[in-house]
């Protein structure tokens, strides 16, 4: 009995230490520029020498397209335009086939030079909400346009949950007959 509780204590301490060790690596909470909030590494790499000159001229390298196709990206998710952000970093744009919305260029891939390789990242969806939400919805409040527009389906579910709670209370607690008729 005592042995078990002692080992449990040690295990908890070990887990705590492990968590602190790992948490050292976690980027600051809510930092919009931290890599996990900004882009996902697709672990596609290209040789820098040839591709970089193409990218600087604004031409989409063949290698990039074929590698993305091999990864299973749809036709309208392949880059159509490249723009340089700064030295060694590029944005790639796609023109999605949005039938419900006018087709609009969208920032989708991010290419970064590290050493003699180019690594390809994909922008997180939140980047579009942050950078283009005001323009797309004409609502200045970021919380509202994400809650009610981009995540409208989710909010519909939340309202339904509240509605269900209300119906549950009505069914369980309502006692019409016992209501005092005093006035």
């Amino acid at each position: 009995m005592k042995l078990i509780s002692l080992s449990a204590l040690l295990f908890v301490i070990f887990l705590g230490a492990l968590f602190i060790y790992i948490a050292d690596d976690i980027p600051d909470f809510g930092d919009p520029n931290s890599p996990p909030n900004r882009y996902v590494n697709l672990s596609i790499s290209m040789d820098a020498a040839e591709a970089a000159t193409n990218l600087n001229k604004g031409v989409v390298p063949e290698e990039l397209v074929s590698k993305l196709e091999a990864r299973g990206f749809r036709e309208d998710e392949l880059p159509a335009k490249v723009e340089m952000v700064k030295e060694g970093e590029w944005d790639a744009f796609i023109i999605p086939e949005e039938k419900h919305y006018y087709p609009k260029e969208q920032k989708y891939y991010f290419i970064k030079k590290e050493g003699d390789k180019l690594w390809v990242y994909r922008y997180a969806p939140i980047i579009r909400y942050i950078e283009e939400g005001h323009e797309e919805t004409e609502v200045p409040n970021m919380v509202t346009y994400i809650l009610a527009d981009y995540r409208g389906y989710d909010t519909l579910g939340e309202v339904t949950v509240i509605f269900t709670a209300g119906v549950g209370v009505i069914l369980l607690l309502r006692r019409r007959a016992k209501r005092p008729e005093a006035r």
């Binding site: 919805t137 609502v139 919380v143 009610a148 527009d149 909010t155 509605f163 709670a165 209370v169 209501r179």
Partner: protein, 165 residues
């Protein structure tokens, strides 16, 4: 017997405190106005349907605390409350469905840009969001109120009517 007793003493026991009654009578309209402001203001600043709905519900809770459940219940009948509970969800889901119907099936569900309002695409999305927030506000208000009213009503006959104040 018990009910008769409480019937007789209801009016005096409940509406005893003049200060509480007067202050809450003055406060309630302003609380409700503020709630409507928070709901409508949701697009431009802090606020939204959930927050505004809770404030609106709080105004009815204040009514119950000040005037007792019977008087407050007469002001906001149960039947209407139950109807409002579902009306909000209907408004929300209906706006979503209207987008599909008005665009003849082109738009997605809840794509407010296709509501036929006399403004441009982006502005329509903003107005659609306002409509949806109103729906959320109605549901939250009605649910908060009905939860509170039902909790109070159940205890009333057994306890002989001696609660708050």
């Amino acid at each position: 017997m018990n009910t008769e007793k409480s019937e007789a003493g209801e009016g005096k026991k409940r509406g005893g405190d003049v200060i509480v009654e007067t202050v809450s009578r003055l406060m309630v309209p302003f609380i409700q106005l503020f709630a409507l402001y928070v709901i409508i203001h949701g697009a431009g600043g802090p606020g939204g349907g959930f927050q505004g709905g809770v404030i609106f519900g709080a105004s009815f809770v204040l009514l119950v605390i000040a005037f007792g459940i019977v008087k407050a219940g007469d002001r906001f009948p149960e039947g209407i409350n139950t109807a409002l509970t579902s009306l909000g969800v209907y408004i929300y889901a209906g706006v979503g469905l209207l987008c599909i119907i008005l665009s003849l099936g082109v738009a997605q569900y809840l794509n407010y840009g296709f509501l036929s309002l006399p403004v441009h695409f982006e502005e329509r999305r903003a107005l659609g969001m306002d409509l949806v927030e109103i729906g959320i506000g109605i549901t939250v208000m009605a649910v908060i109120t009905s939860i509170f009213f039902n909790l109070v009503w159940k205890r009333e006959p057994e306890g002989g009517g001696g609660e708050e104040e």
